[in-house]
């Protein structure tokens, strides 16, 4: 496991150092805060999909779930004037239900994860547009909105989800705290509880796991529920971070970022492999690349290309490191 993280960690440090050398402003506190904030937002999503990838599945619907949850949350808060914490509750329950639906379709109706979540990608996006008549919407109510009476509470929520906490002269963005809590929970879940073990086992050999008396269907459903839940959390964080949700666009393509981060962070799409720390670092690498491109002043046309190349080289490099380590072990044993 540790070899996996080494490669991606080196990558992180390398890009960091190079950018800092080219443009020292990169290192100032404000930029670091932003980098931490965006990394956290994307890492939350990526962690979610890691659960699914560990079981050997895939979730293409994440981006649409982020969008739909952000839309529904905004409607509840702004237009419906709902009690703010209930609105958060509804948004999260929605995401749990989506995960449940995926899980059930995959395990009971036996539709392949790729297909289920591809359809999800289309359907949730459509729902978001339909609910809002495709109007931009945000969680913060204005005077004429039903939610205006809860303004204070909603501003409180806004601080919780997208505020900054001063630690000395450094303002730590709250999403980082969410990430910290969620990633520690995820790591403990995966490494210290039986369910985590079952997810890895299931991803490596589903039949074998079932023959050992584990309800693999239930575990798979759990993975999809967790994935959607994390996407839902990300949806809430994005809604408050952006204060504005475009039903047709918010979250578009995020599934690809999340999957890319999970893969770059050492999850194997064949299942059975993955680590929380790796995924978090990989998500940070992706955000770092974007930030560096702006800091160094490279044309935005090239962003995608650079990102693609880094992911590809990162994965190939990782493979090479693993091979070398294995070979060394072999030599030592014999």
């Amino acid at each position: 496991m540790k070899k996996n993280i080494l490669g991606i960690f080196i990558l992180l440090v390398a890009i960091f150092v190079i950018t800092a050398i080219i443009n020292p402003k990169f290192l100032n506190a404000y930029n670091m805060q932003n980098l931490i904030k965006w990394s956290s937002l994307y890492a939350v999503m990526s962690l979610g999909v890691a659960f699914v990838i560990i079981t050997g599945g895939i979730d293409l619907s994440i981006g649409s779930v982020v969008g739909l949850v952000a839309v529904v949350l905004s409607i509840c808060l702004k237009l419906e004037g709902m009690d703010p914490w209930s609105a958060i509750g509804i948004a999260l329950i929605l995401s749990l239900l989506i995960g449940l639906l995926h899980g059930i379709l995959i395990t009971k109706a036996k539709v392949q994860p790729f297909v289920v979540t591809l359809c999800g990608l289309l359907v949730y996006r459509s729902m978001g547009r339909w609910f809002t008549d495709n109007q931009s919407i945000g969680p913060m109510p204005m005077e004429e909105d039903a939610g205006y009476k809860n303004l204070e509470q909603i501003q409180h929520l806004d601080f919780v989800f997208s505020g900054k906490i001063a630690i000395g002269s450094f303002n730590l963005p709250t999403p980082a705290i969410f990430l910290l809590v969620l990633s520690i929970a995820a790591a403990i879940f995966l490494r210290r509880t039986i369910w985590g073990r079952y997810l890895f086992a299931l991803g490596s050999n589903e039949d074998g796991t079932r023959y050992s008396g584990i309800n693999t269907d239930r575990m798979k459903i759990l993975a999809y529920v967790l994935c959607s839940f994390f996407a839902g959390m990300a949806g809430i964080l994005f809604a408050f971070e952006l204060d504005s949700v475009q039903p047709a666009q918010t979250g578009e393509f995020y599934e690809l970022y999340a999957i890319a981060a999970a893969v770059l962070g050492g999850c194997s799409l064949r299942g059975g492999e993955g680590s929380v720390l790796g995924v978090v670092i990989a998500a940070a690498v992706i955000r770092l690349i974007y930030n560096s491109i702006n800091m160094v002043g490279i044309s935005t046309h090239l962003e995608f290309g650079i990102l693609g190349l880094v992911i590809l080289l990162g994965v190939i490099g990782d493979e090479l490191i693993k091979k070398t380590v294995n070979r060394k072990q072999a030599v030592q044993t014999s």
């Binding site: 402003k25 930029n31 547009r129 931009s136 971070e241 949700v245 475009q246 974007y290 702006n294 935005t300």
Partner: protein, 323 residues
């Protein structure tokens, strides 16, 4: 029978085709609905989700349905000309929002985006009369209107002379630190975000890291100014960095009310919808348009008129909802 929801079966049916999915277009749809009622016609609003392909197949379907007129915002006017002509052969064709000057469209209804850009430049000037660094944010620069707006802003700030709309010369997309002798303004960079709002915000944040003396952010697409305001607010630089924008997202209007943004240029989207349908109806009834270009006025919104403008917008947004 085919056609709109309201079933005036002998009334003509018109299609209003946008260039994508955007709240802007739903405001336009409000104008369409007003005109629909006022002129007793049926209308369909079509929003192609993914570019030229969807625009083409939607218009084809409309022709197949025997539509009586189409008002379209072409995505790539020059290259779409042959197809637009095909549409023109089958039904009444007018363009709105973006023109296809080489096509057989009967008339173009639209804002002069270059002029609007210059007006935006004027807003910037009044926001930071002492001059300074200006940065432009936009979704994509491949769209002609985006380029025209940007060029308008640049030309105005650098004190260049007025250009003709159909012969605008563009500065390179990648050009940085544009300035001119005698101008107090430097356009330090233009950043695109591909319609990703999160990207738009992080672009704004990164610009504050990179350019310490940034004085004004200019957002050319509807979601850009709110993203800029958000980023500025979080960096505690409200007031220190001005925002001027385009279009009329609530967050921007709110900021204008609060004085956190300087002003915006509104194209009054509902006018697009209303005038398009009005024009189609009059052509349908045999009246040829007098001119090939029907210029819609844009509106400069600042603290002085924001309240009344916002009220109007809300009314329109309500009307534009699809059922």
């Amino acid at each position: 029978e085919g056609g709109g929801s309201s079933s005036k079966s002998d009334a003509p049916t018109f299609a209003y085709v946008t260039n994508g999915i955007d709240p802007f277009w739903d405001l336009c749809a409000a104008g369409v609905r007003i005109a629909e009622k006022e002129f007793g016609v049926n209308c369909e609003v079509l929003m192609p989700p993914k570019g030229v392909v969807d625009q083409k197949r939607m218009m084809e379907a409309m022709i197949a349905k025997g539509i009586d007129g189409v008002a379209v915002s072409p995505i790539d006017a020059d290259n779409q000309t042959p197809f637009l002509n095909e549409v023109g052969r089958n039904t009444i064709l007018i363009t709105q929002d973006a023109d296809a000057p080489k096509s057989d469209r009967l008339v173009y209804i639209g804002t002069n985006n270059y002029k609007a850009g210059r007006a935006l430049g004027k807003l910037v000037k009044s926001a930071i009369p002492e001059g300074g660094e200006v940065m432009i944010f936009v979704g994509r620069l491949e769209q002609l209107n985006a380029r025209q707006r940007r060029q308008g802003v640049i030309d105005e700030l650098l004190g260049r002379s007025m250009q003709d709309l159909d012969k605008v010369k563009f500065d390179s997309v990648d050009s940085v630190n544009l300035t001119s002798e005698g101008s107090k303004y430097v356009i330090v960079d233009t950043r695109t975000d591909n319609f990703d709002k999160a990207k738009a915000k992080s672009n704004a944040e990164d610009s504050m890291t990179k350019y310490k003396n940034l004085k004004c952010m200019v957002g050319l697409f509807a979601y850009n100014p709110p993203a800029c305001i958000d980023a500025i607010k979080e960096a505690n630089k409200l007031g220190a960095i001005k925002v001027c924008g385009f279009d009329e997202q609530d967050a921007l209007l709110q900021a204008i009310v609060e004085g956190h943004a300087h002003g915006t240029i509104s194209q009054q989207p509902w006018e697009y919808g209303y005038e398009s349908i009005k024009m189609l109806k009059s052509i349908y009834e045999g009246k040829q348009p007098e001119n090939k270009y029907f210029e819609l006025p844009f509106l400069v919104v600042d603290q002085s008129n924001v309240e009344s403008f916002w009220a109007k917008k809300k009314e329109m947004a309500e009307l534009g909802k699809q059922d």
